[in-house]
């Protein structure tokens, strides 16, 4: 069950890989595969150089991290990495500073940047099911380019007490690149939504961690009314470049304002559902919140969990870096970004005295709906010593960020705790 990648060309290696793995799965099943892996992994060092166990051959994407700069890797299989706040200072998040959230393994098509014969199927509750090539998308629908915030639903999970399960993201599972694609609403208008259409279900060709090729990694969606607002796009480019392997090549959805898990990578199908989508990680307690507020640590029955939709109002301090020394009595600029799942950031305030007094920051207009907004404030620290800058955005409904974690939930989603940095003032 070993493949030597040095002795085959890439094409035949792929064929051998998938054929032999399929055959293996068929004859021995998953239990045996798990057992085999259990035996193989710890003795990997004893394998001849270049020889890798078949079921481990699919790439986690870890090698691609060399093009990322300064990210904190939370896990290597699946690959998850976040960005320190001070590296998120750009208005448009560059590739090297965009977080990575993988639920499974990177599909071979993405690793090879091979979109040959790639199609996007639109089916389900539509009058005219579509099968679109990438060229169809580019030529038949208006192309749009916009800056859209993408934020992991679990960003801020690390701050819930007691701890909640999943990657312990702090503040850096967010970014605001510029995406190019077509409006999902335009595509759905061409397909002709039936009256029975209520939800989208997104599908892709990424590979499940178990190696089971039949298993969905993740398949989430959004309500039809949300995607018909026109902000949701099917993107093929980020910051003017084709999507990369880690961010969904060749196509992905961007559902701005929603947890990024709705923004399916490696997109090849959108199934229009006649009910709330029930794909992988739509059900149970994945990306769900209790229907009512619960005490920290409470276990909530599945039937009382509802899908997380709009991400809450939030902001970060991106400059200066936490712990920076500044001169007492001299004015310094503090800045960052603010964003909101509802797309209506209203005001921005900061405090340098632990929340006792707040000063309003200037808030620049959004480049487009659902882009994050630059805020700036000048602060003068009165004397030498230790200070914290606390940042608090408020949305158009008067809802602002709490100084400690908001209401606890079993999986630790939607934590919009105020971001704080330290400033050390020298005499």
């Amino acid at each position: 069950m070993l493949v030597d990648p040095n002795h085959t060309d890439p094409q035949s290696r792929d064929d051998l890989h998938s054929n032999s793995r399929r055959a293996f799965m068929k004859t021995t099943g998953l239990t045996a595969l798990g057992a085999m892996l259990g035996m193989v992994v710890p003795f990997e060092r004893n394998l001849p150089a270049g020889v890798i166990p078949v079921a481990l051959a699919q790439d986690t994407g870890m090698d691609l991290m060399s093009d990322k700069k300064g990210l904190v890797v939370l896990g290597d299989r699946p690959l998850n990495a976040e960005v320190p706040a001070h590296l998120l200072d750009d208005d448009i998040t560059p590739y090297e500073h965009l977080f990575v959230r993988m639920n499974g393994l990177v599909p071979q098509t993405a690793l090879d940047q091979n979109a040959e014969n790639w199609t996007l199927t639109i089916d389900g509750e539509v009058e005219n099911p579509l099968e679109l090539t990438i060229d169809d998308l580019k030529s038949r629908f208006e192309n749009v380019t916009s800056r859209l915030v993408i934020e992991c639903g679990g960003n801020g999970r690390a701050f819930f007490q007691p701890g909640t399960s999943g990657n312990q993201w702090t503040v850096g599972a967010v970014g605001c690149p510029e995406w190019t694609g077509v409006r999902l609403s335009d595509v759905l208008k061409e397909a002709g939504l039936k009256k029975t259409a209520v939800y989208t279900g997104h599908y892709s060709n990424d590979v499940h961690l178990s190696g089971d090729e039949e298993k969905e990694v993740i398949s989430r969606g959004a309500p039809i009314e949300k995607v018909m607002e026109g902000d949701t796009i099917i993107a093929w480019a980020m910051n003017g470049e084709p999507l990369t392997a880690l961010h969904g090549f060749p196509l992905r959805v961007i559902v701005p304002g929603y947890p990024a898990s709705a923004s399916q990578k490696y997109l090849n199908r959108i199934w229009i559902r006649d009910k709330e989508h029930d794909g992988a990680k739509m059900t149970g307690d994945s990306y769900r919140l209790p229907a009512y507020p619960v005490a920290p640590g409470t276990e909530v029955p599945e039937s009382d969990m509802v899908v997380l939709t709009n991400m809450p109002i939030k902001s970060i301090v991106t400059f200066p870096e936490t712990g920076t020394e500044v001169k007492a009595g001299e004015q310094v600029e503090v800045r960052g970004h603010a964003w909101c799942g509802k797309g209506n950031v209203a005001t921005m305030h900061i405090s340098v005295d632990f929340g006792q007094t707040w000063q309003e920051a200037t808030l620049e207009p959004a480049a487009n709906r659902f882009a994050w907004q630059r805020w700036r404030a000048n602060v003068t620290l009165p004397q030498h010593g230790y200070y914290e800058v606390w940042a608090r955005a408020t949305d158009g409904d008067g809802i602002s960020q709490p100084p400690l974690s908001p209401v606890w939930n079993p999986r630790g989603y939607a934590n919009n705790i105020q971001h704080r940095i330290a400033l050390v003032a020298t005499a």
């Binding site: 710890p42 939370l74 299989r77 007691p162 909640t164 312990q168 992988a280 149970g284 712990g323 330290a422």
Partner: protein
Amino acid sequence: MKHLFAMGAGAVAALALGAGLALAAPEPDPMTALAGRPAGADPLDPMTALMARPDEGTGGEGNAELGGLPEGPGAEDTFYQCVACHSTEIIKQQRVTDHRWDELWTWMVERQGMAEPDEETKKVILTYLKTYFSSER
């Protein structure tokens, strides 16, 4: 850093006191979660003091041969069972309740295709996880 460790010891005493008061008054009191919080891992990053739990819970680096899992009964079984799908990094990040570990186990078997070992091994692994990656102890 010495100064921080000293603060940590004080925090433990305050936490013990807080627990005693909680016993006397069974009503939930959100201030107990704020009393005697340990200092953050990085004094120059105030967010580290707000995190669920600082890193000392795993007892340092752990066993490199077992993906850095801390030594203890069940470490090896846990490693072999889990790395069939994912690396140990995601395990080491967790600080969750016993109930949540049971739920995660069921979720991995029923939804994520995890091969379930025999009952005895399952018990050993869950005990290990609940011991070293817990919000309860």
